[in-house]
């Protein structure tokens, strides 16, 4: 297992990018405005990359699937293509693409280098303006071909929407097998599209709520090993594990600070209360942020590190509160019907995602950071535990059908109109999205 993680990370470090100089200056550039709520998906033609084998088609398919899943793009059926691209360096016959209403066109080539690496090149064209919008080439090891496809999809997304993409990312989650009464839970990691699943623990110990470090190839999670449930760190590159702090009781609900230097968590105390603590990973000092006889948990930092949002039942049912990162001035921000939990601050800083329980349903929603402007994005028997894509536009969460204890992962975008299930080998819960890979 260790070896596979090392190989994985080594492969991830190997992708290099070179910009292919665009020949024409862009004017009246093709752009999808995604700030206005409901968006009509942009028709885009993604041709098979030229290659001597299946790889060019595979890369094209991964790019198309990424863009389609975002809900912002509608890849045109390859069967409708008129021009067959034989030289991806030359300008295409724009008329052939305009007539099938492809507003954007992607062409490319993948070739094996003498040193065994792959070179992947792409160009993005604005068919109606008749000009190239972007062109880049990448070198990588052959096993990282999916990663190159995700990087290209991110480049296209960014060029056409003006916002960073989120396809070259991974998700750590809990893989579930066994009976519905006694689940076997393993930490697992996969690409954001569900590919390349790898297991990080063996299922012997109950493990929950993994979270990605914002700055390192590292996760924090909760494990019941040794009969004393505690928070751990796991280095993805080495497989090295360590306990976070030495607390007198169970610790739960870990999350990193935005600089990756602290873990915030809750300590379950002998009197039945739960309070929020942080541990500085360098100095090993712990700081108590809340002092209550209630349950304070689910803490999440604002992206600038100055504030912490958390859930508390100090006022009766669980509600969302906000306080300074030193624990100062806690104030309630959720006031709707029902109860609110699992608050997570958006990486853009503008919204807080949450799980809401109301009327026998569990919903995923977002609110502004002062608690106003609540919007419910999904509702069902049990939707729980949102995690943000690094661009703050998509949320992943887990969903259980009624009475099944059989969770699967889904994504939904901020419009609430683009709900997709993620294919995983087994049941899956507790997803946490990585930052964009370096």
């Amino acid at each position: 297992m260790l070896k596979s993680i090392r190989t994985l990370c080594a492969a991830f470090a190997m992708v290099m990018a070179i910009l292919i100089v665009a020949t024409l200056p862009a004017k009246a550039q093709l752009k999808l405005d995604i700030t206005k709520g409901v968006v009509e998906p942009m028709p885009i033609a993604i041709t098979d990359f030229l290659s001597g084998d299946q790889l060019g088609t595979n890369i094209s398919n991964v790019i198309a699937a990424d863009l389609e899943r975002s809900g912002l793009f509608a890849p045109v059926d390859k069967g409708a293509f008129i021009e067959k691209i034989s030289n991806p360096d030359a300008a295409p016959r724009f008329e052939d693409w305009k007539v099938i209403n492809a507003q954007a066109l992607v062409t490319g080539r993948v070739t094996k280098q003498g040193d065994g690496r792959l070179k992947a090149e792409f160009r993005l064209w604005d068919t109606f303006a008749g000009q190239q919008l972007d062109g880049q080439q990448f070198f990588t090891s052959p096993e990282s071909w999916r990663r190159v496809a995700h990087i290209i999809a991110d480049a296209i997304y960014e060029k056409l929407t003006g916002e960073k993409g989120y396809f070259d990312t991974r998700v750590v989650f809990v893989d579930e097998s066994g009976t519905k009464e006694k689940r076997i839970k393993r930490l697992a990691i996969m690409d954001q599209d569900g590919a390349n699943v790898r297991y990080l623990t063996n299922g012997k110990d109950l493990v929950l709520t993994p979270r990605f470090s914002p700055s390192r190839q590292e996760i924090t999670y909760m494990s019941f090993e040794g009969g004393k449930p505690q928070i751990y760190l796991l280095q993805l590159e080495t497989g090295q594990r360590e306990l976070v702090g030495n607390f007198p009781g169970m610790t739960i609900a870990p999350r990193f600070s935005p600089d990756g230097q602290k873990v915030v968590m809750s300590l379950l105390q002998e009197d039945g209360s739960a309070n929020v603590y942080t541990m500085d990973l360098r100095s090993r000092t712990t700081t108590r942020l809340t002092s209550t006889s209630a349950i304070d948990t689910g803490a999440s930092y604002s992206p600038d590190g100055s504030q912490v949002v958390f859930e508390s039942d100090r006022g009766g049912r669980p509600q969302i509160y906000k306080m300074g990162a030193d624990g100062s001035n806690p104030q309630r921000i959720s006031f709707g019907d029902g109860s609110y939990s699992t608050p997570v601050w958006s990486p853009r800083g503008d919204l807080i995602a949450f799980t809401k329980q109301s009327g026998g349903e569990f919903s995923i929603g977002v609110m502004k950071t002062d608690g106003s402007g609540e919007r419910i994005l999904t509702s069902g028997y049990h939707d729980e535990g949102p995690t943000w894509a690094p661009n703050g536009r998509v949320l992943m969460f887990f969903r259980l059908p009624p009475g099944s204890n059989s969770p699967k992962l889904s994504t939904v975008d901020l419009t609430g109109r683009n709900l997709r299930q993620i294919q995983t080998p087994n049941l899956a819960s507790d997803p946490a999205w990585s930052p964009l890979l370096e």
């Binding site: 009464e181 929950l208 809750s266 379950l268 002998e270 039945g272 689910g298 039942d313 049912r317 259980l400």
Partner: protein, 167 residues
């Protein structure tokens, strides 16, 4: 293993263990959740874990989102406390559990709150608090899974486990 070592200190328990082993008694793992239905009452050797589970009752139940010890639970805990004082050699772990109609982290904390309330009640009935450990499984170990209160009410529980962790 720790449990065997602890039990082995007492000759009575050694004899009990051997007699159970010889009789091929069902392992604890195979006991139905509602041990009272076994019809074994009276046949369990006094002072055995079976005696505790069958004749006393190892678990109490809670209302939704509550850690208040209900009247029926108070009766069970009073019997537990009597028994535990009579057999002081057992280590005690109270496991708190929640139903599935809550979020994972809140349920872990709620399970701990229920375990703590249970321990406090046992202590008020004379069981030394220092003898009782607590552990929460949140909603990770349901005994019944369905989409109605008939299951959820069974899962909102605290179990008094003898001889260490694990139910």
């Amino acid at each position: 293993m720790r449990r065997f070592e602890m039990i082995a200190r007492s000759p009575v328990f050694v004899a009990l263990f051997l007699s159970l082993a010889i009789a091929g008694c069902a392992s604890k793992k195979n006991l139905p959740n509602n041990a009272g239905d076994l019809g074994l009452a009276g046949s369990a050797r006094p002072g055995s874990t079976q005696d505790f589970t069958v004749n006393v009752g190892d678990r109490i139940f809670f209302d939704v989102d509550s850690s208040v010890i209900r009247a029926d639970a108070q009766q069970t805990l009073a019997k537990q406390a009597q028994w535990l004082q009579r057999y002081p050699n057992y280590a005690i772990t109270v496991e708190g559990h929640a139903d599935e109609r809550g979020t994972r982290e809140y349920n872990l904390a709620l399970g701990q709150r229920r375990a703590a309330a249970t321990r406090n009640y046992l202590a008020s009935q004379g069981v030394p608090a220092a003898r009782i450990k607590t552990l929460s499984y949140g909603n990770e170990r349901p005994v019944a899974v369905c989409d109605s209160e008939s299951c959820w009410s069974q899962n909102r529980r605290a179990i008094t486990v003898l001889g260490g962790a694990g139910s």
